[in-house]
């Protein structure tokens, strides 16, 4: 049967379904998010996996940078920052390297298909009491363009997206510039 949009009954029914569906979906999405105004990013753990120091630092700094850019939280605190203790609804983010494969920029540029760098981290978002709220494995890759450290940027962007999907800032508070 051909769908005829000139039939007003069918057309209005379709419109009604569309308009009725979208707000309720959005509300569900919103209510599923945990409200938190601040996050503290802990230093990246290696868990016995040999990860070069520059990768650990790059993962940590990119993660803070991306969380600040994403703007999900009003404050993004660093590991050890004493100001974080005052935040009432603080989320702690601890990421631990699960798998690390260091590729080669030279091999990537020469062969196109080989030499990818990949890093997988277990990211745990927990509340002040230490209860785990969200746990996710996130992988950062660099397959062609860029240096090996670009995999850490890829990871950080994905981790910030995960934070955006699961958390939102507490409404009604003044928004301060993020982070130290």
């Amino acid at each position: 049967m051909r769908l005829n949009f000139r039939n007003p009954v069918i057309f209005s029914a379709l419109l009604a379904i569309c308009f009725a569906g979208s707000p309720s979906g959005a509300q569900e999405n919103q209510s599923a998010k945990t409200q938190a105004s601040a996050i503290q990013v802990m230093m990246i753990g290696a868990d016995g996996i040999p990860v070069p120091a520059e990768f650990q630092v790059s993962l940590y700094e990119n993660l803070i940078d991306q969380l600040q850019k994403k703007g999900v939280f009003q404050h993004v605190y660093r590991d050890g920052d004493r100001n974080a203790l005052a935040a009432p609804d603080l989320i702690a983010l601890q990421c631990t390297v699960q798998n690390f494969q260091k590729g080669s920029e030279k091999v990537r540029q020469v062969t196109t298909v080989a030499g990818a760098t990949s890093v997988t981290l277990r990211c745990q978002f927990s509340d002040k009491g230490g209860n785990s709220l969200v746990e996710r494995n996130i992988t950062g890759n660099v397959r062609f363009f860029g240096g090996n450290l670009k995999a850490t940027y890829d990871f950080a962007k994905k981790a910030a997206n995960v934070a955006g999907e699961n958390f939102s800032a507490v409404p009604g508070r003044n928004s301060h510039p993020t982070g130290p």
Partner: protein, 169 residues
């Protein structure tokens, strides 16, 4: 008589100027690129790196960025490499015909990386990564340690352990 006094004064002044200049140059000052980490600085900022008066100083066109040596919890050196022709031009050469761009990718310069972790006044942990010319990172590391910085890898020989080895495969 007055002329000789003037000459002596000028000689003494020049001596102190040269001594001061020589004292400054004795410290390692090297070209560096800050990959990430210094607050307020863009990634891949170019400048010069030195250790002066107990401080690691990154001198860049917008000013200086200082990190106190005593606040540094870890200094680690490593090695890396980069294309001789880099940047946008380097990316464009990849499109060159007959795979000539790929051949250019084989020409690379070796670099040292210098990774530091330090705490700010609030106790917040920061990490900074620099690339410096080959052989310079270890000199800066030694100077930082001499001025109060800490390291998890005390000697150059130990830095070849897998955890710190960052050589390209």
């Amino acid at each position: 008589m007055i002329a000789s006094v003037k000459a002596v004064l000028i000689a003494v002044t020049l001596f102190f100027c040269f001594a001061a200049t020589y004292g400054q140059q004795a410290r390692t000052v090297t070209e560096a690129v800050q990959l990430i980490g210094l607050p307020g600085l863009k990634e891949n900022s170019k400048g010069r790196l030195t250790v002066i008066n107990g401080t690691l100083r990154f001198i860049h066109p917008q000013g200086n960025a200082d990190v106190t040596a005593s606040s540094i919890q870890d200094v680690v050196t490593g090695t890396d490499s980069q294309r001789v022709i880099g940047g946008t031009l380097g990316t464009l050469t990849l499109l060159a015909p007959f795979g000539s761009g790929r051949v250019l990718s084989l020409f690379r310069t070796k670099l040292d990386t210098l990774t530091i972790r330090y705490r700010d006044a609030d106790g917040g942990l920061h990490g900074v990564i620099f690339t410096v010319p080959l052989g310079k990172a270890e000199l800066i590391k030694q100077e930082l340690i001499a001025q109060g910085a800490h390291t998890s890898i005390p000697t150059q020989a130990d830095s070849k352990t897998p955890a710190a080895d960052s050589k390209e495969k």
